[in-house]
Amino acid sequence: MSATAVWFRLSAPPVSGVLRVRPLAVCVVLALLAFAAFCVGMTVGDRPLGVGRVLAALVSKGDYYDQVVVYDWRLPRALTGLLVGVAFGMAGAVFQTVTRNPLAAPDVIGISAGATTAVVGGIVLGVGAGLGTQTLGLLGGVVTAIVIYALAWRRGTTGYRIVLVGIGVSWMCTSATGYLLARAKLHEAQQAVGWLVGNLDDVTWRQAGPLLVAVAVLVPVTLVLSGWLRTLHLGDDVAAGLGTPVQPARLVLLLAAVGLVAFGTAAAGPVAFVALAAPQIARRLARTPAPPLVASGCAGAVVVLCSDLLARQVAGLPVGVITGVLGAPFLLWLLTRANRAGSGG
């Protein structure tokens, strides 16, 4: 074990593990940053509130309007930002590790595109408008993922084939969205574009609730399965030799990741770039060979929450615009100062 790792071992119960100092530190720092951004998000706004008043409102004490602002508006918004970031960051890490391709974010391989088409179709055609944006987005994402997996299946799948099929599907969905947008009335187009860059403006508990449940279920599942991620990262043959059931493992991991992406997209739209950038940011900060799961989630949360804080200062701009503007330079900065040339998976 390397010098920057600490191991621990208990005899009874037989629990043991290795703590790597740098990834752990990165994780803690990112989590603290996310928490700080969350707290700031709770206090600032049109009605600035001190920490005391926020806390009082949270336990249903103090001023009535404080309670409304904090509990009904700010808490769901900040929580959704946090959860969307975690969901996208982690899902991105899973996708990039399983396909062994740093470009294989859910935005690239079609899942976000499918969700987008469903929602834009709903807005423009009025199809299934009764279902609401959220359900449509969720359905779109999940159905697209199933279609991609089914099309990539031929005596098993490979990460490579999933990526290629995903590109094809993504292409169709993007075109369909473009078609719908060009056919739409201008105000419909504006509404659709507002959604499809990712938006936290009108988030309420209706969006935050389901996402909270999904994240609470899927994140632990993903973490428990992360052992498979470590072997799959070595390639299918080696993973199989090490006793990983390659096909089921990949399916379950991708399902969990797709679930995270679909619920996140349903709540806030396909917030641009987070799923691609957060794992790369976390990986480069932690200097690990694969994107670290928890740190990727934390990095996603930091990016989304900080972007949302900025977005609130610029009236009319949704959070997805800021994530791109903020995340891209940061990723570029990390890229240019990376001491080693490569940067796989």
Partner: protein, 332 residues
Amino acid sequence: MVTGMRTRLLIASVGALVVLCLLSLALGTRTVPPGDVLSALLRRGPSDVEALVWGARLPRTLLGLLVGVALGLAGAIMQALTRNPLGDPGLLGISSGAAFGIVVAVAATGMASLYGYLAVAFAGALAASVVVYLLGSIGRGGATPVKLALAGVAITALLTSLTSGISLLDPAALNRYRFWAAGSLAGQDSGVVVRVLPFVLAGVVLALACAPALNSLALGDDVATALGRRVGLVRLRGAAAVTLLTGSAVAVVGPIVFVGLVVPHVARAVTGPDHRKLLPFSMVLAPILLLAADIVGRLVARPGETEVGIVVAFVGAPFFIALVRRRRLAEL
């Protein structure tokens, strides 16, 4: 695959392309007898048909050809440069740069001229790809494939975000942007062809000159160096070709760069990895796809039209998926 078979396939493809060009002149939302089209081409037909053929269908067909050639070549080169099957010609940030150029021009100056859009889109594409290349080259090892790709993705995200932001704040910009983004060959005139042609030609020459060097590059940077290639220079030339080709294409028809992603995969199934064969094949197959899609788009939604970008997606994507399923595609 046998060489003779490959040659025959190439000849057949060229034949198909010629037929498609003729069909593209003859077919459209307005039905014109083929004889009239022919005499109009020779400047001897009825004046309204002559105006239709020379003013709309001929430039449109030529643009389809040019854009197809450009995207097919650019895609093949991009995949060779990045050694990544996801390497589409938009990877250097070209599409997003063009979109950004259009949106900024409309929002800032209220621009409303066809040639104006062409110029700003091309300028945006050029600027974006230069920035991506420079950013991807900083640091040890120069412009490695992964660094280039990630820099491209980052800049694309940045520009896309800015584009969405501006178009959300300015409805006029959104309006122009969404029609450009659907991808159409219609509504262009011969002036566009003349303005784009030099850039495409320069790109084609540059691209074809790269082919042998790309073969060496496919074996890895070290082997390419051992074979006497100056890897950095090859990449720079390839990137310049991609920029010229894709920039012109995107400026004309919008972001239908996926053509450039799919066609080389199809061509590779025929030619194998040799770029001296792959590039010409991509150059022929891509305009076939584009022109066929354009013709279908004119016919399916009569009297209206469906944009070529959308038809290409719905024709090309299933084909691409079928190919991915059927073959063990060569990993790059």
